[in-house]
């Protein structure tokens, strides 16, 4: 089945230790998104790719970076995780901007 896959589902990292979260899709969608969601809050968009074109939200900290080496894969790099970065990270895709989005199951990040 076509889908959005995120690995790992749970990630524990130490304060300040770089961590990478991965996302892959079999939908062949042009747009891939990364959201941060903290407990009982709405998802907050960090950035998105339209094909290879990277678009950062204005309030996304520099600590967060992303790579999209090909259509199928997108990575979220957190260079120096702080305790405040503990959250659920959601990857999503859509055919075009503004279309319905397809979400992965999320990666729950814990920072110790």
């Amino acid at each position: 089945d076509a889908m959005v896959i995120q690995n790992p589902r749970y990630q524990v990292t130490q304060f300040g230790k770089p961590v990478t979260l991965s996302c892959s899709q079999t939908l062949n969608h042009n747009v891939m998104y990364w959201y941060q969601q903290k407990s009982s809050q709405a998802p907050k968009l960090l950035f998105h790719y339209y094909d290879k074109d990277f678009n950062n939200e204005a309030d996304t900290p520099d600590n967060f970076q992303s790579r999209r080496p090909n259509t199928s894969f997108c990575f979220l790099d957190i260079r120096s995780p702080g305790l405040g970065d503990a959250a659920m990270y959601l990857c999503a895709t859509s055919r075009r901007r503004g279309d319905e989005q397809y979400f992965g199951p999320g990666t729950r990040l814990t920072v110790t």
Binding site: V4, Q6, S40, Q41, A42, P43, K44, L45, H48, N55, M88, L90, A92, R96, R97, G98, D99, E100, Q101, Y102, F103, G104, P105, G106, R108
Partner: protein, 112 residues
């Protein structure tokens, strides 16, 4: 900033009853979307309604949109325990690069 505000924040009903959730927004939109999120999981797209549409149905779901009042509602009829989840509205604004902006969500509990 949060474009949509949802009401109520939490709703508890008995199985078989109808559940109504409301969403208000501030600026003109291209479309409005509703998503469901089960605890600890990714979001699932439910319905997309365009700014020139007033009502859409999908199974037991009915969505209305009133652009003059900048509001939408999601009705779930004959609710089931499996409908227990958080429900988010998200708007695609005319002047925000076609990105989704999520409301705070309604936590629905359906008691068996």
């Amino acid at each position: 900033s949060q474009q949509g505000e949802e009401d109520p924040q939490a709703l508890s009903i008995q199985e078989g009853e109808n559940a109504t959730m409301n969403c208000s927004y501030k600026t003109s939109i291209n479309n409005l979307q509703w998503y469901r999120q089960n605890s600890g999981r990714g979001l699932v797209h439910l319905i997309l309604i365009r700014s020139n549409e007033r009502e859409k149905h999908s199974g037991r779901l009915r969505v209305t949109l009133d652009t003059s009042k900048k509001s939408s509602s999601l009705l779930i009829t004959a609710s089931r325990a499996a409908d227990t989840a958080s429900y988010f509205c998200a708007t695609v604004q005319n002047n925000a690069g076609n990105m989704l902006t999520f409301g705070g969500g309604t936590r629905l509990m359906v008691k068996p």
